[in-house]
Amino acid sequence: MLPSVLRCTRPIPTCLALARPLAHFRTHMDPDPSRPVEKAIRTKLTSSLKPDHLEVHNESHMHAVPPGSESHFRVLVVSSRFDGLPLIQRHRLVNEALKEELSSCVHALAIQAKTPEQWGRNPSLAKSPPCMGGSRGDHTVEEKLRTGRE
């Protein structure tokens, strides 16, 4: 608990760091088959968008939620289904696929939706901004975490 509190009270770095996508990073948690929400996200995105490349990162550890939570995710979806679609339509497709998770246990979903050509030109995963502690004491998030555990 304490480390996550310290993370959230660190001074906020300048947003200039977000100006360019950063190099690909790996979550410190390897995919764990027992993580049901992550599994469901993978399954649903694979089924609905038939991606060439898919990454699902549980970023809950970066936020003010208990260890082991499945509440905050970042997804990278590379699919030809996105060809010709503006960003908002691409994101809506992802949201639609994960409707159930988003209305229950997933509190935050960061999305990168690229066409295969875009991915080929720039194969990098964006990095989420530092948590500012908004989930702490947020009863909506607490309810979602309870939903996820049930």
């Binding site: 947003c15 949201n95 935050a108 960061a110």
Partner: protein, 157 residues
């Protein structure tokens, strides 16, 4: 209601917390509009007005002066980089009805949410990508807002 929203925008320009009721001396953030919006339908109707009242409208967690979420903060920072400081920001943490209402209104499950000229633009990811690929400068131009980054680029030439 309109006066309240206008005064909210004014409060925002001065950097104060939004949803301040005019005349409250203690400055405590109070979600006054929520008290009036008892029915979900009212919220939808009010949101329809809220997103059109200002050129740039952001539904976020916290305030521009004190964001309570990294993604909301990113939106604030991006707008700041472009020199957009005159926009309406609504703190959904202050009002659960607004928080759910805006998700229904936009048919979008997460916060922050950004509107340009009454049209839903997207969340943090989309705004960030628009900033990175130059689209944001163009979209701001369509709103009659000249991005500070564009001005800075011109000055350096």
């Amino acid at each position: 209601m309109n006066n309240l929203i206008r005064s909210t925008a004014r409060c925002l320009r001065s950097g104060a917390a939004v949803y301040n009721v005019p005349g409250r001396a203690d400055g405590r953030v109070w979600s006054a509009p929520a008290r009036f919006l008892c029915a979900a339908a009212d919220i939808q109707k009010d949101l329809g007005e809220m997103v059109k009242k200002d050129k740039v409208v952001v539904f976020m967690k916290g305030t521009p002066a004190q964001p309570m979420c990294g993604f909301s903060n990113a939106v604030v920072q991006i707008l700041r980089m472009h020199g957009v400081d005159d926009y309406a920001a609504y703190n959904v943490l202050e009002d659960q009805d607004l928080r759910q209402g805006v998700k229904d209104f936009s048919n979008w499950p997460t916060i922050p949410q950004v509107y340009f000229n009454g049209e839903f633009v997207g969340g943090c990811d989309i705004l960030l990508q628009m900033h990175q690929n130059g689209d944001l400068v163009d979209e701001l131009k369509k709103l009659g807002i000249s991005s500070a980054l564009l001005d800075a680029e011109k000055e350096s030439k």
